[in-house]
Amino acid sequence: MSREVVIIGAGMHPWGKWGHNFVEYGVAAAREALADAGISWREVSFVSGGATVRCGYPGYVAGATFAQALGWQGTEVNTSYAACASGSQALAAARNKIMAGDCEVALVVGADTTPKGFLAPAGGYRPEDPDWVRFYLGITNPTYFALYARRRMDLYGDTLDDFAAVKVKNSLVGSKNPRARYRKCFTAEDVAASAMVADPLRLMDICATSDGGAALIVCSLDYARRIGKGDAPRIAAISTVTPSFASAVVEMPDIATDSAAAAGIEAQSFRASLPVKAYEEAGIGPEDVDLAEVYDLSTALELDWIEDLQLTPRGEAAQWLRRGDTALGGRIPVNVSGGLACFGEAVPAQALAQVCELTWQLRGQSGDRQVEGARVGITANQGLFGHGSSVIIKR
């Protein structure tokens, strides 16, 4: 690696359903990150934005939109869109620019305002669009998460109580996070009393969509040393690898998987491929990880991710959960931010919010949510069609 890239500032606008313009959240997050870094906006020479496709044209050119809102000062700009992985791709663009020696300090920012109600596809008769097809046939987002959850039950013996326990665990720690949207401590009874949406998942097993904004200030190690922050958390890896053909797990919004019928082709799942590249790039293994922020679009999906990150053997995540090993204070705490269960998903901001959490944890600034002695953290999230990202931060 030619130059190391470190995180000297992190900021977030609290998640919620505020109904304001997304730019406002992004600016608030950026200003908090700048203040956290102790530098002025004029020090930044590259703005990398995570795009939002729900907020009109300004969202498509998010990098420039945020640069304008903070005050044009001649930075270069970039905008990345990769659904939930947008933030990681925006971070990768900034990191590459710094590693190439083309920039010293970059702002990475993502923010979103979510519309009310269901996100439905455009109407008409459009069988060439997989999103139209699956809605027409009655297959919604929770369908996919429920299929994965049910498979865990039939294959590994996971139970509804296990899924509820993920929610209880995350809401307990999320209740202590002032940036989280949902800060109530839910009980297993609360989860059991919520309506069944897609068997075996209930309303409280599935994450909501939220408004929110997250930002990072990243810079070269040289720059960080010059301002006395040479020990800031380093970005050890960013993985955005695709799965390998043939992907064997049906992914939103597809109606079918790839076929593995051709000679020499093996069926595989996508979530497992992301961390492999991340570990390799960081030069560490799952045994070195102190905490993980994973994409709990559903409670059961947190358990899948734990296994995909190789933090537990395949099929054993629920056993670890039952023993408290994935809770704060356990062997490998997962989602000590409260996760999507407590935040709800703000698409272009979410991957960055995961990295914000790791940054504060690795600095030891997380108060009563602090993972003691955290030195290495990993994130994982997923976009559409089975691509996603995984980021490793090291102290």
Binding site: F135, L147, D199, F245, A248, V249, V250
Partner: protein
Amino acid sequence: MSNKPLAPAIEGWFTMDEQPQLIGSQCCHCETYFFPAQNRYCRNPDCDSTEFREALLSRTGRLWSYTNACYKPPAPFVAAEPFVPYTIAAVELEHEQMTILGQVITGVDVSDLKVGMDMELVLETLHETEEDIKVTWKWRPMAAAITGGNAQ
């Protein structure tokens, strides 16, 4: 019962036979199957073929996983009033080595299903229009004990 004619909900995606089959495509070079049919480029990373033939997919497979829809999906789904929850299955086709989603026939509940069960493709009503009854493929458990109902 309506005496309107039956019509496929999505034109050209399945045969309208007594023993219906999904209409996919197969790469003429590497033999990879595609559903929905893919006729322009092969997605096998080791194949750059642009030649495909029509392929009728296996009618039976094994249950990969299953769930249901307890709430009415948004349009373009056309829901009956009142909305009746339905079951959904992902079924693995052994020969094609791929998994395909679809509703399960009316009358079969998630409690009737188990990963690994043998499933069969049938046609059933998706919704009615002014002119016709739109039918789609659905999965039916092959075990004799589970009959479901209302299958076309």
